[in-house]
Amino acid sequence: MIRARKLSKRFGDKRVIEGLDLEVPRGGFVLVTGPNGSGKTTLLRLCAGLFAPTGGELEVDVPRGAIGFLAHEPLVYRELTPLENLDLYGRLYRLPERRERAGAMLERFGLWRVRNERVGTFSRGMLQRLALCRTFLHDPDLLLLDEPFDGLDLEGADLLQAELADRTGVTALVATHDPEALASRASARLAIA
């Protein structure tokens, strides 16, 4: 699903990724590890199509609507409620019965009781849970997750694991500081220096 050969990305004079080779087959679950600033986030953003590589080849065989991208930022509107946020994304991702799916998603991540409160009042952990709702809402074929456990408490982490367990067979590229948490699911690892 993802194929990268001698991939490189440069921002002005700064070389963030250099000569990277990567292959993620359908159903593969690849963990990306590396220190801060090593380019994990950049790699995910390249695969999501947010910017283009400066060198090498990158092929992602998945249409935009089938990618679930979890960024560092939660990508939700602070003045809106979780339901409104998910309703918007559901609309943009062309989901049938989007209200019901939004509700179901919120329930799965334990946010149902705050569904009508403004996101601006949420804690870091709740924001992350909502971001995960947004990511999984449209049942993506490819998951691009940037530090998915960031900010989650134990309960949140369990809910995430449960969600991933329900989606066996999904293709995923996950950047993480804590590879052990997902070691059982991982089909391969990539370490970026």
Partner: protein, 211 residues
């Protein structure tokens, strides 16, 4: 060499036909410069369109250089136009002179183009944004022309400035040679500047490879 020679020839020929004084000679300078500026902006917009169309990043430098040429010629247009206004009507600036006003608007616009480039980090973002803005510029030319024209009827009295289309053929030929020479000059400067820019980009890339 040829274009520079061609232009020098045009300039020498002009005085032979220009028996109407210095203001007439400015005409041979001012209008070709103005038309050349339009041509540069148009060329820049064309390269910008190619950039957006094909995604080939080489077009960015070409578009940028063309716009740069356009601004230089635009500035010269304003200067020569101002001189002409001073000679003809005793004022360094007049809002009634449509060409002048139009070029002021375009000069402001394309100066903003440079602000855009300087304040955005180099990369695909800057290239695309510059290209889109260059396209806006070339659309602005006829729109502003129309605007200034209708403004003349009510906002500022329009001073009739240019001769009609019935120039004697010698003057027309002379004018066309000047125009050709000016365009050739612009093309030469364009190639020189583009080569220079490309060289510095290559140098930078080489330095990075070696680093």
């Amino acid at each position: 060499m040829l274009p520079v020679g061609g232009y020098a020839l045009a300039f020498y020929w002009a005085p032979e036909d220009a028996d109407q004084g210095f203001s007439q000679k400015i005409f041979y300078l001012h209008v070709p410069i103005a038309l050349t500026a339009y041509a540069c902006f148009g060329w820049g917009a064309w390269k910008a369109l190619r950039l957006l169309w094909t995604g080939d990043r080489r077009y960015d430098l070409e578009s940028y250089t063309a716009v740069h040429m356009g601004v230089i010629f635009g500035l010269l247009t304003l200067v020569t136009g101002s001189i002409w206004a001073k000679i003809s009507w005793g004022e360094w600036w007049t809002w009634g002179e449509r060409q002048l006003v139009l070029f002021l608007i375009l000069f402001l616009f394309y100066s903003s183009y440079f602000m855009l480039r300087y304040s955005t980090e180099a990369g695909p973002r800057r290239e695309r944004n510059s290209a889109v803005y260059a396209l806006f510029g070339v659309v602005l030319i006829p729109v502003s022309f129309l605007a200034v024209r209708i403004a003349g009827t009510i906002l500022h009295p329009t001073v009739f400035t240019h001769e009609g289309a019935n120039l004697p053929w010698q003057m027309l030929v002379c004018f066309l040679i000047c125009l050709g020479g000016m365009l050739a000059l612009a093309a030469t400067l364009y190639r020189v500047e583009l080569a220079g820019k490309r060289a510095s980009v290559s140098l930078r890339e080489l330095r990075e490879l070696l680093a």
